[in-house]
């Protein structure tokens, strides 16, 4: 087994583990007893999605996926803050 094959298989295994982590976050998002638990699960969900996109970029050997991961991180942070402020104040922009 060459090093390239090991890299290909471990990329696949890492993607499977990240997909399972996303499924667990979705489980908590559905199950979460209160609204803040769901927002927390969403926060984790977009972080794991960002890691999955980075891993896909390594698997395909192109840097194009990096910008997508950056945008996911940016929009995920903004939407988490917006939802947290909505839960705190009842409105997003005052």
């Amino acid at each position: 087994m060459s090093a390239q094959q090991i890299l290909a298989w471990s990329t696949l295994a890492a993607q499977a583990m990240l997909a399972l982590a996303m499924a667990l976050a979705v489980f908590r998002m559905i199950r979460g007893p209160r609204a803040q638990d769901r927002v927390l699960a969403f926060d984790k969900l977009y972080l794991v999605a960002m890691l999955l996109i980075l891993t896909e970029g390594i698997a395909r050997g192109t840097k194009l996926y990096f910008e997508a991961a950056l945008i996911v991180a940016l929009l995920g942070f903004v939407s988490t803050v917006a939802m947290a402020r909505f839960l705190l104040r009842g409105e997003v922009i005052e």
């Binding site: 399972l20 209160r34 803040q36 927390l40 890691l51 390594i58 942070f77 104040r89």
Partner: protein
Amino acid sequence: MSAPALAPPPDWAALATAALLLIGAAATLVAAVGLARWNSFFERAHAPGVVATGGLFAVALASALYFTALEGRPSTHEALLLLFVWATTPVSLSLLARVDVHRERRAARGARDEEKPLSGA
């Protein structure tokens, strides 16, 4: 899996990338199991921090190492993602902790959701 257009990276770089990817994905999976199993909100609030530190650090390091070896020149743009996520995760998590404290207090007072003060000031 599509073959990269450039020459494949040297063996040591491919093996180190594979190890870092597996470490990062395993840390993320452990944090996800914790998020699904822990019973209180403040325990669950630790899970995204594990992803943002351990998982993201290992995967970003793997990406930087792989593209440095693949293209033969330093690949540093992963540091941008790392710095951004490390700056924003504490902000969102402390905001969510404040949300939990606020809502628990309001629930303990027995106020309905519609009866909140209109302005904080």
